[in-house]
């Protein structure tokens, strides 16, 4: 019998390697997998490359991982926030490498890795600093930049409910990067508020089919997490 539900976050994270590329879901704190990040800090993997939308809020979650000095480089769309002081300090001290990726390119590049696309021409960022030295191409009168997939070794995401086959549903705008990161990483680990029996999730309404999810950890509900402001 296949059971992707792990007894603890520590068990689920045990094999994350130094130097791994770790995708971390969430938009600000909505959808951020706090429990899994804490377990990653405890696990000790270092020299990580993190892929996330933001660069941490306050002192918990992703910010705590950064503060612990485990992250060599971060790819994200919006590092600078009113409460991103941990990142800001590391960045100004030259202790972390930053690659700013337009949010749509970030999502689509992660999806491309998951969907087996070798590269794609994106309209976003053409003629800007963020296009860097990438190839450009004019197609039917519009200019595009060639973008490459971003493949994760591990994705840490937060969902609402999951079952032992790895099927997931999310909650409101906490869905954000979860489904594409689940596609784009070799090992996807989801924390969920509720584990349900097989067949309870409506097959018409499953957002992430279990094929994209390798491990699930049940966590306490994230009530009391306050949204942060940009």
């Amino acid at each position: 019998m296949i059971d992707k539900i792990k007894a603890s976050a520590a068990e689920a994270l045990s094999d994350v390697k130094d130097g791994a590329t770790v995708m971390i879901g969430g938009f600000g704190t909505a959808g951020m997998p706090f429990t899994l990040i804490d377990a990653l800090i405890a696990q000790g993997a270092k020299h990580l490359t993190v892929v996330a939308n933001n660069a941490g809020n306050g002192d918990t979650g992703l910010a705590a991982l950064l503060k612990a000095g485990r992250v060599r480089k971060i790819l994200c769309s919006f590092p600078r926030q009113t409460d991103s002081w941990v990142f800001d300090e590391l960045y100004r001290a030259g202790k972390i490498e930053l690659e700013v990726v337009p949010q749509g390119n970030l999502a689509e590049r992660i999806r491309a890795a998951g969907a087996g696309i070798g590269a794609f021409y994106s309209p976003t960022g053409y003629g800007t600093l963020l296009a860097g030295n990438r190839e450009t191409r004019r197609i039917n009168g519009r200019d595009y930049v060639l973008e490459s997939p971003i493949q994760g070794d591990v994705a840490l995401i937060r969902a609402h409910k999951g079952d032992r086959w790895g099927n997931l549903v999310y909650r409101k705008t906490a869905r954000n990067f979860g489904p594409v990161m689940a596609m784009g990483a070799r090992t996807t680990i989801a924390e969920v508020s509720e584990v349900v029996a097989l067949g309870v999730l409506d097959p018409e309404a499953i957002i992430t089919p279990g094929i994209f999810v390798q491990r699930i950890v049940k966590v306490a509900d994230a009530t009391g997490q306050q949204p942060s402001q940009e």
């Binding site: 938009f27 590092p79 999502a107 976003t124 409101k172 594409v180 949204p227 942060s228």
Partner: protein, 226 residues
């Protein structure tokens, strides 16, 4: 003889937002960015159905929740708590940005540091070496919607025009802006140049051009009966 800036009645932020709202028709799919543009939502008439999109995965966004009813899982792109209207739908980031980049939004309203006479937009980075760059969805929004509106003060605090011959700040996107709403005027970016569509009382188009330091043509409708 000429109006001086000091005694001009500039539009307030709310008045600017209200002026933008006037141009958003029923049934439009609209993204209101973050900051000043989000005020536009407050001035859409209740009987006009407009579909608000927020790039973090919601179409059919409603107003801010009542105090105490905030849900940390239901936020907008500025990470402020919002609500979802009946008929709303949630989706993931790749689908959300497909809506934007695929040209499915009718209108996107953005703030700006600078807009050039050809509609280039600079709104993500001051270019200062000490600034931490952060772009979010700005570049995707700028190129994606059928029409991109900019709403901003006409002049910087130092009195320099934010409408410029060429942007000196790093670009968000080239030739993407369709219309500019400022505290002094509404200006269309057209292949033939900038066209003033509306202007605050007491200011002439030539005076505005003097302040703006770029060529502006008068594109106002003649008053009825003229």
């Amino acid at each position: 003889m000429s109006a001086t800036l000091a005694n001009l009645k500039k539009l307030s932020r709310n008045e600017m937002a209200k002026r933008v709202a006037r141009d958003i028709p029923e049934g439009a799919y609209v993204n209101l960015g973050i900051g000043l543009p989000t005020l536009v939502a407050n001035f859409l008439p209740e009987d006009r159905e407009v579909f608000l999109h927020t790039e973090n995965g919601l179409l059919g966004m409603g107003p801010a929740p009542k105090q105490g009813e905030e849900d940390p899982d239901l936020i907008n792109a500025g990470k402020q708590p919002v609500t979802a209207l009946p008929g709303a739908a949630y989706f993931h980031h790749a689908d959300s940005f497909a809506m934007m980049r695929g040209g499915h939004l009718d209108i996107c309203v953005l703030g700006a540091f600078q807009v050039s006479v050809t509609g280039d937009l600079a709104n993500w980075h001051t270019g200062e070496p000490s600034a931490i760059p952060a772009v979010g969805g700005a570049m995707d929004l700028a190129i994606g919607a059928k029409r991109t509106f900019v709403v901003m003060e006409h002049l910087t605090k130092a009195g320099e025009s934010k409408i410029v011959p060429t942007c000196t700040y790093p670009l968000t996107a080239k030739a993407c802006v369709a219309r500019i709403y400022t505290d002094l005027a509404v200006i269309d970016v057209t292949p033939g140049g900038l066209l003033v569509r509306d202007i605050v009382p007491g200011l002439s188009v030539s005076e505005l051009a003097g302040l703006t330091k770029v060529a502006l043509a008068d594109g106002r409708e003649p008053p009825a009966g003229a």
